[in-house]
């Protein structure tokens, strides 16, 4: 592999980076107890995310990347280690976090607008103050005019766009996305990447994006963290050099292909490593 070429700005010296970061993940380990014995999912993972930075976490399935994301959201606990957001340790869910799953998780009996406003109701904030923001987000997401539709009347991509709006409506400081587009077909997925890029560039949030698509990670993120197979460790932390706002036609350039090729070889290496075959 032509590793030197097109692989700019490696981020090393992780501990130094973690210290002042907006989201700091330090020495996180996770051991699951299963019937076959203890399974180590994550081994001393450390990294930091700057405020307003878009970080993609890339790795093979079962590397613990989703678990890690859920820990940042306070939905999972670590066996050891510490995660802090803006200097405060994460001990449970908090309203500064917007979350997206692989499934859009829309409530079928609610209209699109009510689905977007669902977090406002749960957080007991005044609906009236957020109505305009909800409508504005739906407009940006290309869903203007669908406010009163029910989820089953929308396509898969439209539903996931509603989910993006719902995650942003209460203006969380951090956006956590757990393979949000992996259930969509390839064309819709590209379309969703463009939509997310557009929405995110207008509402710069600190974003953590878990995916197993190399291209998606490189196109969307400022930084790509690559994780190894179980037990998950960080094997690469790469800065993506492209300026924002990004043009999606970037997809075909040699520069991006170089980066993708480099990441692919890294992931391929972990998959072929002895003792980790599944």
């Amino acid at each position: 592999m032509e590793q030197g070429h097109g692989v700019p700005g490696r981020v090393h010296g992780i501990s130094a980076l973690t210290a002042g970061a907006y989201v700091s993940v330090s020495k996180i380990s996770k051991v699951f107890a299963t019937r076959q014995g203890a399974v180590e999912a994550l081994a001393e993972v450390s990294f930091g995310v700057g405020e307003g930075e878009f970080v993609a976490i890339l790795g093979p399935s079962g590397c613990g990347k989703s678990t890690l994301l859920m820990m940042c959201g306070g939905l999972e606990t670590a066996t050891s280690g510490r995660i802090a957001i803006a200097g405060t340790e994460v001990s449970g869910p908090r309203d500064s976090i917007g979350i997206m799953f692989q499934d859009p998780t829309l409530l079928p009996w609610m209209t699109v607008l009510d689905n977007v406003l669902f977090p406002i109701r749960i957080l007991r904030r005044p609906l009236r103050d957020h109505l305009d923001r909800a409508r504005e987000l739906l407009d940006i997401a290309g869903l203007g005019g669908f406010e009163l539709s029910k989820p089953h009347q929308l396509s898969g991509g439209m539903r996931q766009r509603v989910a993006i709006c719902r995650a942003l409506v209460y203006d969380p400081a951090i956006l956590l996305m757990d393979e949000p587009f992996s259930a969509l077909d390839a064309l819709t997925r590209d379309e969703m990447n463009v939509a997310l890029l557009d929405i995110w560039e207008r509402n710069r949030k600190t974003a953590l994006f878990v995916t197993h698509s190399i291209r998606e990670a490189v196109l969307l993120a400022d930084r790509v963290i690559v994780m190894s197979r179980r037990p998950g460790t960080i094997i690469e932390d790469l800065r993506v050099p492209f300026v924002r706002p990004r043009d999606f036609s970037l997809g075909g350039t040699p520069e991006i292909n170089g980066i993708c090729e480099h990441l692919r070889s890294l992931i391929g290496r972990t998959q072929r490593a002895p003792g980790v075959s599944t």
């Binding site: 939905l75 869910p93 979350i99 998780t105 409530l107 079928p108 009996w109 749960i122 957080l123 089953h152």
Partner: protein, 260 residues
Amino acid sequence: MTVAPAPAGRWDEPILAVVLPLASAAVFLFLWQAVVTLAGLPEAILPPPLAVLGQFFASLPELLRQARVTVLDSVVAFAIATAVGVALASCFTFSGTLRDAVYPNLVLLQLIPKIALAPLFVVWLGVGAPSRVIFAVFISFFPIVLSTATGLAATDAYALKLCRALGASPWQIFIRVRVPFALSHFFTGLKIATTLVFIGIVVGEFISSNAGLGHYILLAGAGGATSRIFVGLIALSLSGLAFYGAVVAAERLVQRWWWE
């Protein structure tokens, strides 16, 4: 002119779906009438349909009076069964320990022929309406609690995760997410319960009562008035149908709210 091939869904299919069962029922009634008339069976053994029809209109005021008693008791029993069933199922979602302790026993109880316990309720609660109503509650609340509990537990896992991520309280999750998700299961239980509640009330009326359709049928049987037994049955079926229809109508309303 060319002849078009027959389309897959024929226009008369929905009409046939109504006409065919009606036609077979009509044939059955006609045969019944013919057999009774031709064989000269005495009316006390098997009255012909036309005689039953005549009897029905002749006894209509009396039937309405008796049906009123049965239906009112059933409605009260149904309301209590629904309240108890939903309350218990809700408790299960808030306390896993309670669910683990009680739920298997409910499933087991569901399997015994509860109808055989009717005399026990007369022993405990006397021969009045309360014993009939409580007995009907007893046999009809099982499907409500079981299906509602199933529905409340069947909430989409991602929806629950979303709620947890937002720091929703158990009560918020219950009201805003679990209950709407449970509604279709809940109505399944209700529909089964409507039939059971009628069975419970009528069995109670058989055992001890001085009014109601069950009582009417029992008296007719004792007096050898066979056509009045049939007339009582018709009134009972119509009441049960109306009751079931009301529950289905409520379910439709909820489905409209869900999907439209």
